[in-house]
């Protein structure tokens, strides 16, 4: 007996297979809630393992959907499961799994509400997987809120810690302000086009003569997302939030939230505005250029490694934005831009998560993230020091580590359209990378050359879960760096025909 049918409403067609990854995550959330509610203190130890297993279980339907290879579209095209969506769902789930590995000991040993921590993490990941498939303004907005609201809380999750609460407060206020601006842009966009579907919006604003309000709407939407991906000048929250939040949460924000912001920006810009490059290209161009330069210059003078990674993350956001600045020239340039952004996001996730894993491991001994406290790391924990150098030089883009391939795809995407704007941006990417090499190399020098600051050279004991996280991230960084065709097979332009091409 169907209630909807009884009142004369047609059931919307639901494709349960396409929704399976999200359903597994909702089920996981329910299980975590129940275990926490009824298991109490005794069940705390099971939380991270349960979460990890659940996240891996959600990957199974992603794999079967990818094997199936059919583009599934629901709700008139508001929710689409294609290769583009599946790639990012897999990225978010694996990144989430690594974050759980990073959190296991950190959260259990610190002063946190442990059960709810994992529930918030899963809810935020659910928002990200929805974001990968969202193709209308309402689902994009709701996915953005579902991934952000738990993240605001996670940033403030350390009990009785002013730094953490301050981090949460700043992140919250900036995030809410950004979504309000984004919404104002979306409301104008809906009104001017009569639809919330991205495809229909693109159809309604074709042509060179568009009303001024559409231009304003595009600008407000891009600015709203620029806050989320911490592009300069909307980055001011990022360093404070990253430094104050618990380190695994910082890793999650720096990788997961940022990647989801980019996915949203890329989806909206390339599906809804492809006919209006005159409006979004100069804006994104300027944002990318300023972000790369300012992020790297401020990162140069940081003394705290987490803060340095935060500014380096800002700079990396600039690199990822750059291909979008030339995406509107032609269908080919849009496809190249999508490939460059998705390739870079995957590589960035691996190397950044790895760097934070080392930070967490070292902080177990030194209790500090100051760069000076890394002195002599090579002498007492050579493996950690080598891992950290791998991640830092990968972030700098040195071959044969994965970072270079990410940079290469960005250069190719920038040069492809053959416009002056693209060439100039490519030069800026090159210059910014050279600046970045200085501060990454400085950390390496401290680790390998400087003596331990307090003379304490007992080796760092790395727990199992952290070791597993380091293994995964180092493996991805090395394999993609040496055999980039492995990644190119899944992020290659031909898999993205449903978007931008």
């Amino acid at each position: 007996m169907n209630i909807l049918a009884a009142v004369g409403v047609d059931n919307p067609p639901l494709d349960w297979h396409a929704l399976a990854p999200e359903l597994v995550l909702v089920g996981l959330l329910a299980v975590l809630l129940l275990v926490d509610a009824f298991g109490g203190e005794r069940s705390r130890w099971a939380m991270p393992s349960l979460t990890g297993i659940g996240l891996l279980a959600a990957l199974i339907p992603v794999a079967t959907l990818a094997y199936d290879g059919v583009v599934r579209s629901m709700f008139d095209g508001a929710y689409v499961v294609d290769n583009y969506a599946l790639l990012f769902k897999a990225l978010f789930l694996i990144a989430g799994y690594v974050v759980v590995l990073l959190s296991t000991n950190y959260i259990a040993e610190g002063d946190y509400w442990e059960g709810e921590y994992y529930q918030l993490l899963v809810a935020s990941l659910l928002g990200m997987t929805v974001m990968a498939s969202a193709r209308d303004l309402i689902s994009v907005f709701l996915a953005l809120e579902l991934l952000s609201i738990p993240a605001y809380m996670l940033a403030a999750w350390r009990k009785r810690d002013l730094g953490s609460e301050e981090a949460g407060m700043k992140y919250y206020l900036m995030g809410v302000f950004a979504s309000a601006i984004l919404l104002y842009g979306m409301s104008l966009l809906y009104g001017m086009t009569g639809s919330t579907l991205l495809v229909d919006i693109a159809g309604a604003i074709e042509g060179t003569e568009v009303p001024a309000l559409v231009a304003l709407a595009v600008v407000l939407v891009v600015v709203g997302f620029a806050f989320k991906v911490s592009a300069v000048p909307f980055h001011t929250w990022a360093p404070d939030t990253y430094q104050g939040a618990p380190t695994p949460v910082t890793a999650f924000l720096a990788v997961g939230s940022k990647a989801a912001g980019f996915v949203a920006l890329m989806t909206v810009v390339l599906i809804a505005f492809p006919t209006q490059p005159r409006i979004f290209e100069p804006l994104i161009w300027a944002l990318a250029a300023v972000t790369m330069i300012v992020g790297n210059l401020i990162a140069l003078r940081q003394t705290n490694l987490v803060r340095m990674l935060a500014y380096s993350g800002v700079a990396q956001a600039g690199y990822i934005l750059a291909p979008l600045a030339v995406a509107g020239v032609s269908g080919a340039s849009a496809a190249m831009a999508v490939e460059a952004v998705s390739t870079y996001l995957v590589i960035y996730a691996a190397m950044n998560l790895g760097a934070f894993a080392v930070v967490i491991a070292v902080a177990r001994k030194t209790g500090s993230a100051e760069i000076d406290s890394y002195g002599g790391l090579f002498s007492y924990s050579p493996v950690l020091a080598v891992c950290m150098s791998v991640f830092l030089f990968s972030l700098a883009g040195i071959p044969p580590l994965a970072g270079w391939y990410g940079k290469l795809t960005i250069f190719l995407a920038l040069i492809e359209p053959g416009t002056l704007a693209g060439y100039i941006l490519a030069v800026i990417v090159g210059l910014a990378s050279v600046i970045a090499l200085f501060y990454y190399a400085r950390v390496a020098k401290v680790m390998f050359v400087d003596p331990a600051p307090d003379g304490d050279t007992t080796p760092i004991r790395v727990p199992m879960s952290l070791a597993a996280a380091l293994t995964i991230t180092v493996a991805v960084t090395l394999v993609v760096g040496v055999l980039p065709q492995v990644l190119a097979r899944v992020t290659g332009a031909e898999t993205f025909l449903s978007i931008g091409g």
Binding site: M153, A167, Y184, G191, G244
Partner: protein, 99 residues
């Protein structure tokens, strides 16, 4: 049906909200300014929806109100927690992290 008048009213409301967010330093006050922006958004959505004879605008506005409620709940929880430890909700006094 008045459309332009509603849009202009919403634009003014939006700008008052933005001004409030940028100048207020009390966390709760910033939150109230953000509510002004969200109301401007809802006026826009419903005015366009009525003009287009499309209920989607109203559905969108409904989602925004629901999310705004969740946002305010979360925000006030953070404010409360911060105040307990800090005895102040002035966001400029919150300056442990500098760099």
């Amino acid at each position: 049906m008045l459309l332009n008048q509603f849009l202009l009213l919403a634009a003014v409301l939006f700008c008052i909200g933005v001004y409030g967010v940028l100048t207020r330093r009390n966390g709760v006050m910033v939150l109230m300014s953000i509510e002004l922006i969200l109301n401007a958004v809802n006026i826009n959505l419903i005015a366009f929806g009525t003009y287009l004879s499309d209920a989607t605008g109203q559905a969108f506005a409904l989602f925004i109100i629901a999310v705004a409620a969740a946002e305010v709940g979360v925000g006030l929880a953070i404010v409360l927690m911060l105040f307990r430890n800090r005895r102040s909700i002035d966001i400029d006094a919150v300056d442990q992290l500098k760099g």
